[in-house]
Symmetry: C2
Subunit: 227 residues, 2 copies
């Protein structure tokens, strides 16, 4: 029997194609197969990775649905396809936006892929790219910081009591609440949407989007106003 292929999880960074690492580009250029998350148009991750890819690409569907059983079935099916590809001896790269170890579908795949050699290549996170773009530090010195995918208004309130530096992710789900709680707790903030992409938006006046909503690929960097 042939040796199984190696599985790579590759972070391609936040959106700006030049923020891919040398290592990610080098591995993409030598693997036998690339798996990309499917999207309506070409996925952003695939757009970034495309110039380095010399092999077949499979677009795989990972829908954002809340039904856990349905989701599990889809993941299991996708993992089976990946296992078949690996068994045939193909080195295979799974590409993911940002960093593979922070809020990525990749870790769910990885945890189901027992018995195969796997290597993960880190990527620039969206919050590091956003902080660089606005030249505002996420944290300095000995200050801790928290990263919160905002789901629960209560958790956000609690965290803003305890931390002076926070990054808020997945804010499109309850943007108006987020803005209100930040204000009530005396935080300054900047909203960054589609960081590094052509339609990037940077907004310090968070009220501007109240009642209008923001895109899924938005985040807020916030810090306690010490004036």
């Amino acid at each position: 029997m042939n040796k199984s292929g190696k599985f790579y999880g590759i972070g391609v960074g936040p959106g700006d194609p030049t923020l891919i690492t040398m290592k990610a580009a080098q591995i993409l250029s030598k693997v036998d197969m690339v798996i990309a998350p499917a999207a309506d148009k070409e996925s952003l991750a695939l757009k970034i990775a495309r110039p380095y890819i010399n092999c077949k690409v499979i677009e795989m569907n990972f829908p954002m649905i809340s039904n856990k059983n349905k989701l599990n079935d889809i993941w299991d099916k996708n993992v089976k396809i990946i296992q078949e590809i690996l068994k045939e001896g193909n080195d295979t790269a799974f590409i993911t936006l940002g960093d593979p170890m922070i809020y990525s579908t990749y870790t769910y795949i990885l945890s189901r892929l027992c018995g195969y050699e796997a290597e993960t290549i880190p990527g620039i996170t969206s919050f590091c790219a956003a902080a660089s773009k606005v030249n505002i530090p996420i944290a300095e010195g000995d200050a801790p910081f928290a990263v919160i995918p905002v789901k629960d208004k209560k958790l956000l309130e609690k965290t803003l009591k305890d931390f002076d530096n926070v990054v808020l992710m997945k804010i499109s789900r309850n943007y108006d609440d987020v803005v209100k709680v930040l204000k009530e707790n005396g935080f300054c903030a900047v909203l960054v949407t589609h960081c590094g992409q052509e339609d990037e938006k940077i907004e310090f006046d968070l009220d501007k989007y109240l009642g209008r909503g923001v895109s899924y690929l938005s985040l807020i960097i916030a810090w306690r106003d010490k004036k």
Copy 2:
């Protein structure tokens, strides 16, 4: 009068030279001057950046001392040197390990450099690189996470009550306390030292270094044991 040069803050990543981004390498190759933090031997940041540099390098001393007045004087002096270089029209890159917006000397320079055009290039953080190396996610789904440079045992204890996922930085200052508090709060953890460098160490048995200490470039990724 000539136009002033542009100031770049460049994250060169955590230590593995292949984890530098395309953008960082490209800017390093075109600037007129590079400023690197001085070290006893060649600084790690400079070692990573060296292959891309085609210009003069100035090594600048940023001592880790606690006397704030002394530190301010040194920073002011260093910033003056950088301003002189920029005034002469030199595009100048300041290189920094990891990401420039997370616990980097760069942000102290940037905040003193009013009136000059500045662009920051994000880098792979040490904690993303470490998580990838051990294939352990920092956070999944809607789980928040906290990053703590451990100074205060009390703050650590509080954070471990509130978060299931934490990254602990600067742990060399009080390693034994950190290990004790993690255990008391039922956390699993992995210690990663010199991630991506030749002398990298990965250790799941944190007791091994009790009483012996760990290097400054060490961090812990920890998660609540849900068994």
